[in-house]
Symmetry: C3
């Protein structure tokens, strides 16, 4: 049974979606054009670039809508509506990301207009992925309208962070966008923590899983797992001088994921009192190798380094999912429904450390110190922005806007922000 | 429980399939060859064309077998056998479409033989898609043998219509093949209407949906939704002068679908008395943006126009699905199981209007009038052919061929054509 | 309910996996590098090769993890853990295959190191496919640790066979690797037969199927079915002189599969006493066309030959699945859970015969005899190696290593090798 909201909310979500969609449409009328690749240049390589980009875009597209959509179906109560609602959120987040990306991070030749290209669409999908990661932490604690607005705020925050990193620190776009996991996870956990303080117990009944829906979640996990090499390599340039890097990223991600899925299963069985594989743990931690290698990828040149990163990421992630989640709940009163902290934040930060270590090992001392300072600043800015934006998302919402009488049955009350 | 047919039918379907398959095989022996791309020309661009086409072909392939196959699983009674039977129908329809396409619409250099190429296979799959759309209207009202024969007649009718349009009106192949939605939907509805007149009530029990199978239908919907840009762009040429058009079609379809999924959900919630998302409505109407833009695509050059088309298509389609289906049943005694009229015919005609309007707006008055006449003729011929063929399909079948004692239990009788 | 193993086993599987993974990692440290395509040559064609290979690799990747993973879910008891365990097995088999392939079958320029490239990864995935085929015969008769070790032995045996064929007979790599179905199936059946002799009745309860999990199995089947053209063509070279062959393989596989799915359904309905489609039969036999054409593909140049091969393969496979499985059980006391003998071995040998016949028909008599001797040797070596390795796998395992008290309930005992 899906959560039932009060009639006031039921009629509010479609109106909000309708209104936002109309606003997006008007913004598109004035600012967005389709890039005419054939007009700019008749270069032979253009069409090759297109072919390759389109296949990678499709892989990322499948991950966003199929992968994330069905990953959350292990929660019995979020199976049907969850996968549908994921599509709504992602579709709106992508449109907003195209706009906000175009405004804040314009491509070189187009100052006035936003040009839709494979690159801009893939970037928009990665921003949407960041929002979907954040959603994982608050599943079951918010109503759909809140989720929708939160997704748009998250995308805005992430793009603003990108803008700061690129403007202040001249950061590499590919590297900074891969921090989407860290940003999304910290943002989501922060929102969850602020919501929690307002005095409601997490409803564990909502974390119930089911063997049947588990197979659907397995689908989502596998789609994410299989296409992750495309996810990491999608924005690594296709030009010949970067072709080697692209291949290295693909093979590295592939190997890292192969190791992390083996480790995730091993750790899950070892830490279970009955020696059974907990598929929810596995489904989450199997992906940690891809997250970690994504942050470290430009510095990884050997297969064994990629595998070691996958090894450590899965170890930390599986142990974190198993033990840290409950500690978080009791120590910090922070409830993290899908364990995004273990699945996205910890492996992301591990990948960041690996990146730092690999660069320091291969550089001279002067450059190494410079890089270390720059590298630490990038993470700090990302983390601060995500925590600040996460807190701001909850607290700046005017109470009368979110005063929604959400209820499942007359006696229970699931809305954490209800003012009574 | 799947419908149980009388033993006479049970042994008839495999025999019919076996016989048809043997006939196809013999026709392939005499007429079909595999195109030897490397012999014709050593052009470098050939291999690039192949690479791009193969990826798009795979996307279309997934849509036909996975998308359409699982879309119909929201009907509880059609889950298991439905997805299997869809594969049988599509596999036979494709083989037949390769043959009939090759006979009626030969490619330039091959008058005597049919050459299998990526283009011919993709065209065959689009014809099969047209047949699968028509099936949607009659699910639960026909037996498998009837469905199989109907699919082959539908493909024949669609290819004949293509031939008329290209011969009489010199129509653009890409544009005329995109009317497959209109043709399929009208054909299916017509068959359903003629079957209905013979005096049987549609069994609403067969429209029962289930939350569990709903997730499978979600899979089918998502596969269709995600790969629709490839579906629309597959036949738009890969040569450099058309590259810009191909990109425009891909981005346009992508944006149109993103808007239509948001609108489909909003309208579904708004029109529901309880404010709930009806996933069957959503799954159907979310695709309407792709149908509409498919017909209009060669005239759409701005993202916002694509989005507006998606917006209107989803609005009309969702309202149509919600309100028109029952009116159709009572007013015209026409039952449309999967609502193909709202999902394929109405958005298709909307796209046709958009195409007309956009061309008129951008042309001089003389050319505009010429185009309008041509454009109206194309739609009229397509609609007439589909309605005539649909009617003919049912009435020309000799009664003794379709006199099948189909029954589910001794008292109920599901076969609309039973002569008793 | 998944089978419950004794605590000793529960803690053993993760330790074995952990140990093996560590060994693999150490071997990767010393021997494996990522191929730097851009350093070797700046040729324009390289990037094109990459683009095409990556898309095909993704198709094969989806088949291994999604296709094989969900194919086995028609067994009710293997749904949840089966698809998860399949990922574990495949991920380890691939890593091991990369290593053993690199040691035994080094690529030209790299005698000392193993270079990871698209080709080496695709070859490793095909070796893993061979192991997954073998698993099909022993599902439900072994514990996870045994399955894992068996998979690694199978991969080793298959690569050693490849090495023998290429060294002794100078066999074509593409042709010899396509015998993976024959090797895997015979290996699996042999293991199953040896296990059986030790005196345990196959538990038919484990073969129970369910309509609900049937839809998941349908997913697995469809993913295998749809992407099989990529599976067969993945290793056929991309260079211009082989482009024609690659296209022929793709179209041939496509047509063969289209015919075999129709025939599988027809035969399944005809041989059923109630005229119903047995989806388990269909799911298995629909793929036989792809297996058969895979072995014969380099000799097939006409579409109708491909279709005839698919026709015969599905006929034999469906009849074999229907009638032979039980005969095998009673006559040879060999139980084959997923019917791999009918699905992989028989179509594979049929394809081998078709290959022989087609070559003999098109060659002069002297060359024909030479080819026949060579061709027969290839099959005999493959079959002998698989049978010997299969037997050796079971018998060489020290009893104390596999003495595992596996039990599902206190009275039942599922472990065939228990020494009591």
């Amino acid at each position: 049974m899906a959560p039932q909201y009060a009639p006031s909310l039921r009629s509010r979500l479609p109106l909000v979606a309708f209104l936002l969609e109309t606003i997006f449409l008007i913004l598109f009328v004035f600012f967005v054009k389709i890039e005419q690749q054939h007009e700019q240049s008749g270069r032979e390589s253009d069409s090759k670039l297109f072919i390759s980009s389109y296949a990678e875009f499709q892989d990322v597209h499948v991950m966003i809508f199929m992968g994330f959509g069905f990953l959350a179906t292990f929660l019995v109560r979020y199976g049907f509506s969850g996968s549908g609602f994921n599509v709504l959120l992602a579709a709106m987040a992508i449109q907003w990301a195209v706009l906000i990306n175009g405004f804040l991070l314009p491509q070189r030749h187009h100052r006035r207009e936003i040009h839709i290209s494979m690159k801009s669409v893939i970037e928009a999908e990665l921003c949407a992925a960041s929002a979907l990661v954040a959603m994982g932490a608050v599943h079951g604690k918010t109503n759909p309208v809140q989720l929708l607005l939160m997704a748009l705020v998250e995308v805005t925050g992430f793009v603003v962070t990108q803008w700061i990193l690129r403007t202040l620190l001249n950061a590499d776009p590919v590297y900074s966008i891969m921090l989407l996991h860290v940003f999304g996870a910290l943002f989501g956990v922060m929102v969850s923590w602020v919501l929690h303080r307002e005095g409601i117990k997490p409803e564990h009944e909502k974390e119930k899983t089911d063997r049947r829906t588990g197979l659907f979640a397995m689908f989502g996990t596998l789609f994410l797992w299989m296409f992750w090499p495309s996810f990491n390599s999608a924005l690594v340039g296709d030009y010949r001088r970067e072709r080697g890097l692209k291949l290295t990223v693909i093979y590295g991600t592939y190997l890292s994921l192969a190791v992390s899925v083996v480790m995730a299963m091993s750790v899950s069985m070892l830490t279970s009192s009955k020696g059974k594989m907990n598929m929810v743990h596995v489904q989450s931690s199997a992906l940690s190798g891809g997250v970690a290698i994504g942050v470290a990828m430009t510095a990884v040149h050997q297969p064994w380094i990629a595998m070691t990163i996958g090894f450590c990421a899965a170890l930390l992630s599986a142990l974190g999912y198993r033990y840290m989640k409950n500690h978080m709940l009791f120590a910090f009163e922070c409830h993290d429904t899908c364990g995004v902290l273990s699945v996205h934040a910890i492996p992301g930060i591990l990948g960041w450390f690996a990146h730092l270590f690999l660069r320091l090992a291969s550089s001279e001392s002067t450059i190494a110190v410079q890089f270390a300072v720059y590298h630490i600043c990038v993470l700090l800015i990302t983390a601060c922005m995500s925590l600040v934006m996460g807190t701001a998302t909850v607290t700046t919402k005017p109470p009368n806007r979110i005063h929604i009488e959400a209820m499942r049955d007359p006696n229970a009350n699931m809305n954490p922000m209800k003012s009574q």
